[in-house]
Symmetry: C2
Subunit: 309 residues, 2 copies
Amino acid sequence: MILTVTLNTALDLTYRVPALVPHTSHRVDHSAERPGGKGVNVARVLAALGHETVVTGFAGGPTGERLRELLAPVPRLTDALVTTEAPTRRTVAVVDAAAGDTTQFNEAGAPVTPAEWAAFRARYTDLLSGARAVALCGSLPPGVHVGAYAELIRTARGAGVPVLLDTSGEPLRRGIAARPDVVKPNADELAGLTGSRDPRRAALDARRRGAHAVVASLGPDGLLAATPDGLWRAAPPAPVHGNPTGAGDSAVAALLAGLAAATPWPARLTEAAALSAATVASPVAGEYDPAVLADLLPKVTVTREDDTA
Amino acid sequence: MILTVTLNTALDLTYRVPALVPHTSHRVDHSAERPGGKGVNVARVLAALGHETVVTGFAGGPTGERLRELLAPVPRLTDALVTTEAPTRRTVAVVDAAAGDTTQFNEAGAPVTPAEWAAFRARYTDLLSGARAVALCGSLPPGVHVGAYAELIRTARGAGVPVLLDTSGEPLRRGIAARPDVVKPNADELAGLTGSRDPRRAALDARRRGAHAVVASLGPDGLLAATPDGLWRAAPPAPVHGNPTGAGDSAVAALLAGLAAATPWPARLTEAAALSAATVASPVAGEYDPAVLADLLPKVTVTREDDTA
């Protein structure tokens, strides 16, 4: 199986309103609840692609129970979340139907206790024994130390399980130093890490900091990968229009499946670029359009670039 | 005991953000969960005033469980809510710390089934046997017929329990025709019912439609009451500044306690005007400041007006 870790899960609420007018009252036309957090999104995409997938991390309270209820019917997805005393946080995305845009509110969440963190580490170590690859995804909740991802990467490497890291800020900086197999920053995260807005220069720099491979997601420009096999660019034939929510998580899902199967980099990047674009094309945030995926797979171009720094 | 009915309960979320900027992402500085719905708010105020209070209506799903968890520790408040299959709706109030203003999002909620409505009516009839007064508060959820409040008023009158109605639109129009003891519209609800923006004319008109007494809440102008004992105005000595959220519910709580004790109208209105103003003065929405209440009680002026139409 493939394992994904989401320490800061969320119950994602989407509210559609005719038009968002600050300082007034709105009746929500349509509301939806989804299980959320980056690793949970990655796991749902992997399961939809046909992979046996296990989700771990934390969930608690009525919001955590609801999250687990929403995960339960997903085929090929197993819930191995650790229960916390504190309730799982919520996020609210208010979709303005007139503007076609979204306003986002993210709760901070309550602290994880030392006992819960210890219980998670034991669960994680146990799950690694059956995992072909693991992804560590998203922000850290309050109560978890900033070097947590570095610690979890070392544990995975000790168990011989390839590990992908998708986070930002100081947890990314510390995590990279623990030598993960892949990191998947976006352009902002890469610039925050390296100080450079030149993706090529920044990806090569991030690789020198310890990551075996760095795959930067550059929105409509596709992916840029600094790998042991060279520097590659992968992009769909033309920019895809739609909702970019979840496109990065879909790229992670494809990269993780490729990591588990040790697929050569050009094939891995083709799948990641096509799946990411197929997610942008889907009207439902975070889901991919299988027809668009099938159409794009043979059309993605992967080119090798000069990787001398 | 005093009974309050909230057919459309809600789990009320309050999110404080530094400044609301549409179409961007916000980290919520501070979030709070409260049990919500007008009758629930009224019950919490009554319980805080020292009255044994019972809450009925509907609650379901993880949001309903959370609402009940939040009600459980409230002294003198008993939960007699009927469990629904569908989850209780949420409301989200986004408080803009810079502007000091609120943007509100209200979920519509899921339909109540015919079996759940039948179970509620049986519970309500049972509870009336021990009630000194009952308040029917707020909007109707999907699945409940528009004449529901009229039906519940007739049941209360049949049981000899005085009944207060606080709703709006067609449920108010139909409810008034069933001859409740008190209705408590605000200025907008009164204008919607009668077509008149003149509160005196509208209150007398609403009384002719069937209500034994009409108490209109007029914001900083206090209360205007058309009663069997004449037309009265009650107001604090000066407008109180603060957060008006819940001021109307506090007025209902005082009016309901007065109805249960058959307090003379001038005393009832004094308590309602003072409690409403003490709620505006409290920094926490929906709670009253006991010191402000004690200070205002002797200062509220109640004046009798000419009630010839």
